[in-house]
Amino acid sequence: MPEILTAPLTVSFPFTRSLGPVQSAFLTGLRERTVLGVRTTDGRVLVPPVEYDPVTAGEIRDLAEVAPTGTVTTWAWNPAPRDKQPLRTPFAWVLVRLDGADTALLHVLDAPGPHAVRTGMRVRIRWAPERTGAITDIGCFEPYEDEPGEDETAAGKAGAGEDRAREAGHRPAAPHDGVFDAPVTGIVTPARLDYTYTPGRAMSRHLAALAEHRITGERCPSCRKVHVPPRGVCPTCGVPTTEQTEVGPHGTVTTFCVVNIKAKGAGIDVPYVYAHIALDGADLALHARIGGIPYDEVRMGMRVAPVWTGDARHPDHFRPTGEPDAAYDTYKELL
């Protein structure tokens, strides 16, 4: 049995996101080192702010500024940061309730180790040096000791960090109109995911044969139809297929279109003909490019044969064989 083929598959795109009013104000605010929340109908301040009240579903637009300092509500130590995460060195994931907010924001905390992190600890934002209007404008959080005297009540309870935090949390959020110069209305969020793709057993058999310039299909034990390329199962009967059969190499163009627009990254010049080809012995058409003939001379019923070039596994294209065209009746069931 030929080996199962695998290949890397990368799905990567820089998604362009329009923001809407609330995200726009929040992310523009981060650029300006200002943290905004939004007030819900029942008076809570949500940070980060959302457009719709999570309880009532009503639209909420009443923005308020909160402090860049806050309290860790829960945390987790990440000993092995992954590439795309905000810090290169081991860090803590934290939920931080900023002073003036009623809910917590997810971000990362730069700390020397898990021993230096605890629930209830005080932290502040360390701003990214370059800010564009993104959640990553908060570079990370860092541990923070409230300055004695900054808050009289807190200073009076020196050493009671959590009390101080509670006091600080009562500092009310200040109303904010959310207006900034040059507001950010969209962000680009690149996302790359890497996969290992396998076409499966039947396709691996088919691809191994293709590498030897043979085109194979598989015959259904039930309906006896030959499917090319094979998928290890008869799609109409739902039963496994195992009987290999070689088809073609000659076949008939059943239908086609002339492609006049160039696909990004495809090295094929336009116009070219993209055709459905029923190989002799196959019960359905496969798809391939037609070459070796001007595009406007390709016909339904034309007889063609595969042309391999270089080391490529797949035929580069199919060329006319010069045989007389097949009569419509001989392939109309394969359209």
Binding site: Q23, Y52, C257, V259, I261, Y274, L284
Partner: protein
């Protein structure tokens, strides 16, 4: 168990909303786009978020927006906290499937009032990219969906003997219809048939003006039971039949021109609705026509015309707004195509027609309408028939 509880609960469409569709809705977030349609549907029904028992959300591949299972992030925007949210994905037919899954929740008496929402915000990525992600060991040959469907159009022309210009007639009609639909994406004022006929040939035999645009948009409908319909401020549309049918992607014997799944789906939905002569009994149809030639192809597949005769119906003007069977008075997919929402827009437009609330593109006296969607390799179909009167059975 009371006698009332046996059998299906009749399902009524009491609220319909859609966004202003556009190539890029840069003024809203993903949540904002979905909300715009949902809120319009709730306003139409004069209902609040609290009146909704469950939400069904439909959209095509998550790669289009780069958000995996976006119903999770959208839960609060959809007023769904503490409620059931079901996420449907049946390729291009998904908008229709979304409405049908929501209708089943009411018909089965599992929920009383259900919000069905479908959307696509294609400007967040690029539809061409999303549809043609590379697959190892396959040759990248295609230039978009048009390249996939154009050979089938050629096969239809060969099989039916249709003259070459029929596709242009469809595109010209649908683009002009869109001018009477304020929500439509394309508003090509002053478009002429000559412009359609002379537009660039992209995938011969399909010209540029015969292809659908790529849109940002959302659509929402509120479905409810008899009690809900009785409270509704406006006349509802009643669901008389709904069905989905699927067949494999590629197989020996597949008829891409007139897929059997489409024929079977139509037969089932007509059977449920008691329709024996669709051409006579259906007053208006909103069909999923992403490439102009699919109008005559679907007219045959759906039983409005005999095999090989669909193009004659189109050429005769029967599918024009004033014709015997207006098709896509909204402007259709050819004028608006947020892929995941397109099917629900068809279903919603059919409902608007029988409610008599389609505005400038209202078909006079429409009492029975067909909404149709399809997707994948012409393999997934979903359809509903809606009527002005409640079902009798």
């Amino acid at each position: 168990m009371s006698g009332q509880r046996t059998g299906r609960e009749p399902v009524a469409v009491v609220g319909i909303g859609q966004t202003k569709h556009a190539a890029a809705r840069r003024d809203v977030s993903l949540a904002g786009l979905v909300r715009e349609a949902a809120l319009r549907a709730l306003d139409d029904a004069q209902l609040s978020w609290a009146d909704v028992d469950a939400v069904v959300l439909g959209k095509a591949p998550d790669f289009f927006e780069g958000v995996m299972m976006p119903e999770l992030y959208l839960a609060d925007a959809l007023g769904a906290a503490g409620k059931p949210v079901l996420r449907v994905h049946t390729a291009g037919s998904v908008g229709g499937s979304t409405a049908l899954v929501a209708a089943d929740l009411v018909a089965a008496r599992v929920q009383r009032t259900v919000l069905a929402v479908a959307f696509e915000k294609q400007s967040e990525s690029n539809a061409m990219w999303g549809l043609s992600l590379p697959v190892p060991f396959q040759q990248p040959l295609l230039a978009g969906a048009g390249g996939f469907f154009a050979p089938h159009v050629r096969a239809y022309i060969r099989r039916s003997g249709a003259p070459g210009g029929v596709g242009a007639l469809v595109a010209y009609k649908d683009r002009r219809n869109a001018l009477r639909n304020p929500w439509a994406h394309l508003h090509e004022h002053g478009i002429t048939l000559e412009q359609v006929r002379s537009s660039p040939m992209l995938w011969d035999p399909v010209r540029y003006s015969e292809t659908c645009p790529s849109s940002d948009g959302a659509c929402a409908v509120v479905l409810t039971d008899r009690a809900g319909a009785a409270r509704a401020p406006h006349p509802p549309a009643w669901v008389h039949g709904g069905a989905m049918r699927s067949e494999p992607t590629l197989f020996a014997g597949k008829d891409f021109v007139s897929p059997r799944a489409g024929r079977d789906c139509a037969a089932e939905v007509y059977r449920q609705a008691g329709i024996t002569d669709p051409r006579r009994e259906i007053d208006v149809a909103e069909l999923y026509v992403p490439f102009s030639w699919y109008e005559p192809m679907w007219l045959e597949n759906l039983g409005f015309a005999a095999e090989g005769e669909g193009w004659k119906l189109t050429a005769s003007g029967a599918t024009e707004p004033g014709g015997e069977l207006p098709v896509n008075p909204s402007g259709g997919v050819l004028s608006t195509n947020p892929i995941g929402a397109s099917g629900l827009i068809r279903f919603a437009e059919a409902a608007l027609q029988v409610r008599g609330t389609a505005g400038e593109h209202q078909v006079d006296g429409a009492r029975t309408a067909l909404g149709h969607a399809y997707g994948g390799g012409a393999q997934f179909f979903s359809m509903w028939v809606v009527g002005r009167r409640p079902p009798t059975t």
